[in-house]
């Protein structure tokens, strides 16, 4: 049963990713990324990482991709499309690069094969994550607030009209 769910979610995620690779229009690419993210949420729930599943929907799907869609729709996409003039040979590098990456990854995955299934005691609840976030990871958490402040300043400085 669980395997069936995995296959379904993984299939959706892969279709979304391949679609992102093949589409030229960024609008469709953003929508296929959304599909992949939704499927990943299902996988996070199967892995019992509930908090991550929730923020995946709220932050990634809800905030980041929507922001992308806004920008894509606010501006004329066709004009954006020809923005980079890239060197042609990069394309031919991509295939061997992919083959090397995949081969190496599959080897790594095989090494973890004998490991048991991740049943997991339920560690991914919001409360547990929150506890850990505000004790052991307090400093990085505070640093992210500085990071976000800097990002806000930057976005305002760059995007504001004179």
């Amino acid at each position: 049963m669980e395997q069936l769910f995995f296959v379904i979610f993984a299939g959706i995620a892969l279709i979304g990713a391949v679609n992102l690779l093949l589409r030229r229009n960024p609008l469709y690419a953003a929508l296929s990324l959304l599909t992949t993210m939704a499927a990943l949420t299902g996988l996070y729930i199967m892995l019992k990482a509930y908090f991550i599943a929730v923020i995946q929907v709220i932050i990634y799907a809800g905030a980041i991709v929507v922001l992308f869609l806004f920008v894509i729709m606010l501006f004329n996409i066709r004009a954006v499309e020809r923005q980079t003039d890239r060197r042609g040979y990069l394309k031919w590098l991509a295939l061997p690069f992919a083959i090397i990456l995949i081969g190496q990854f599959l080897y790594i995955v095989r090494l973890f094969e004998e490991n048991p299934t991740p049943v997991g005691t339920e560690i991914g609840f919001t409360e547990a994550v929150g506890r850990k976030l505000f004790t052991a990871y307090l400093l990085p958490f505070e640093l992210t607030s500085v990071l976000i402040l800097a990002a806000i300043i930057g976005a305002v400085v760059l995007a504001q009209k004179e």
Binding site: I108, I123, F125, R131, L139, L147
Partner: protein
């Protein structure tokens, strides 16, 4: 069972507050002043805008004072915040380097931003945020805190590169730098996830312990492969950050397109910060993967040696044909990344001293050279071509002499600071006695000779060509003071290096595990 334990864990606020006051005072001051500068911005009339710069200099000075106190107070390494930060000699020395880079950059920027008509407080507060990020990077004891502080630095640098909004080159440079930067962050994270998957730890010293245990126990071959893959991913991301070949292609464009004052900052601060975490992660976290060059085991030493050889050679050869002063200096900075890697490759005391002291003197000589380029920018002249330096000796003899000193130091000619740095870097390689490393050292010496050729083009333009422009240079008191200080330091370290070597030994003691 686990969850009950977790829920009972309560933060001990008193301990945390004490940790913060004791370990992170300079960083907190820098962030505080960055916020002050933002607020001050609203209270200033356009004519008073420069006060933002003076306030940020005051903030950096305050941070410098508290850092000086920490030098007295900390004789041994101390960890805090649940082992997220560590304050040791290594971190303190690098924090001094970052503060100096930030102070010099702000002093260079004041007049430059007036000329560009972009004098605003946000610029200075972003530089302060980037400095805070770099200082946290140097103190990071955990992959997580290193990652966040690294992103703080990187994100602010992307914004600074795009700072000249109306200049299309600035926009495009920022776009390119940004895309490649976050691409390399993704690679870094994947490497991190592999290491985490192997060890279930994010703390660097614990990673090292667990990897050593795994290597002794079960299936050393298999764990070795995963660890190696993780190491290669992390190394690739680091090569991006220090602009080493083959991941250097963003560097000339980003350096050319960015506002010149920001380029000066990028070539010194973030580069030193990247080297700091490079050394931290590889020496503290992955010492077991070091490998050697006898051909028995491949490790990061071999990888770094290949990359270093490619980087110095390619950087120097590409610099030969550049006509833009900014691009030329960008390629020169690529080749310097190659020299700096030699310190990590040698892996002995001399090499580490070379790495740290070279990064220290690089602040003065490189920011000095960039400062002279910044001064060429005037209302109607970009001043970015080597030709723009024509006849500088007639227009401003002092500046021409100072530029010559900086360039000689970048080459590594004896009475200057650059020689001291190069001496230690090269001597470290020879000390190892390995034939391959000695060959690498010979290559580095040949490269130094090549670099003399393109630095000499500046000197030839300044002393032997006729004046092309009559408009006076954009000089200000702060710029003059910066250039003079940098010149004095370059000569002082070159003539009397002993106290500075003692200063860097604070840092190398940690790297050597003493």
């Amino acid at each position: 069972m686990n969850i009950m334990l977790l829920i009972q864990a309560k933060p001990d606020w008193q301990v945390l507050a004490q940790d913060a006051a004791r370990l992170l005072m300079p960083e907190m001051l820098v962030i505080l002043f960055a916020c002050f500068v933002l607020v001050l911005e609203f209270m200033l009339t356009p004519e008073q805008r420069r006060w933002a710069a003076y306030l940020s200099l005051a903030g950096l000075g305050a941070a410098g004072l508290s850092l000086a106190l920490m030098f007295v107070k900390f004789t041994t390494a101390e960890v805090g915040f649940y082992e997220m930060v560590v304050v040791d000699g290594f971190a303190l020395v690098f924090k001094v380097i970052f503060l100096l880079a930030a102070i010099f950059t702000i002093a260079l920027s004041i007049k430059f931003l007036d000329v560009e008509n972009e004098q605003r407080g946000e610029y200075y507060s972003l530089i302060l945020f980037a400095t805070a990020g770099m200082m946290f990077m140097a103190s990071g004891a955990d992959l997580l805190s290193i990652f966040i502080s690294f992103e703080l630095m990187a994100l602010t640098t992307y914004i600074l590169v795009a700072y000249l909004k109306r200049d299309r080159r600035s926009n495009e440079a920022a776009m390119k730098y940004f895309l490649l930067g976050i691409f390399s962050s993704g690679i870094f994270l994947y490497g991190m996830s592999l290491i985490y998957g192997l060890t279930a730890e994010t703390n660097l010293t614990k990673i090292a312990d667990t990897l050593a245990r795994l290597a002794r126990q079960q299936a050393p071959q298999a764990t070795g492969f995963v660890a190696m893959a993780g190491m290669i991913f992390i190394a690739a991301a680091m090569f991006f950050k220090i602009a080493a070949v083959p991941f250097h292609m963003w560097c000339p464009d980003a350096y050319e397109g960015a506002p010149t004052s920001v380029t000066a900052f990028m070539s010194v601060g973030p580069k030193a910060a990247a080297f700091a975490i490079f050394a931290r992660i590889f020496i503290d976290g992955l010492p077991g993967l070091r490998g050697d060059l006898t051909g028995e085991s491949f490790g990061w030493v071999g990888l770094l040696a290949i990359v270093s050889a490619l980087t110095m050679t390619w950087g120097n050869i590409a610099a030969l044909t550049q006509n833009s002063a900014k691009r030329l200096m960008a390629y020169s900075s690529i080749s310097h990344a190659g020299y700096l890697l030699l310190g990590l490759i040698a892996g002995n005391e001399t090499g580490y001293i070379g790495l740290v002291i070279y990064l220290f003197v690089y602040v003065f000589m490189n920011l000095g050279a960039w400062g002279v380029i910044v001064a060429q920018r005037r209302a109607s002249i970009l001043g970015e071509r080597v030709d723009d330096f024509n006849g500088l000796i007639h227009r401003s003899p002092g500046m021409a002499v100072m530029m010559t000193i900086f360039l000689l130091s970048l080459t590594g000619i004896p009475p200057t600071a650059g020689f001291v740095g190069k001496y230690f870097l090269f001597a470290g390689l020879i000390e190892t006695g390995n034939a391959w490393l000695i060959a690498l050292c010979v290559l580095a010496v040949i490269n130094t000779a090549i670099s003399l050729y393109y630095y000499a083009r500046f000197i030839k333009a300044m002393f032997m060509s006729d004046v092309k422009e009559e408009e006076p240079l954009a000089l200000s008191t702060s710029l003059r003071a910066t250039l003079v200080t940098a010149t004095v330091m370059v000569l002082l370290v070159g003539v009397y290096p002993r106290p500075f070597i003692a200063f860097t030994e604070n840092a190398t003691r940690h790297l050597l595990g003493l």
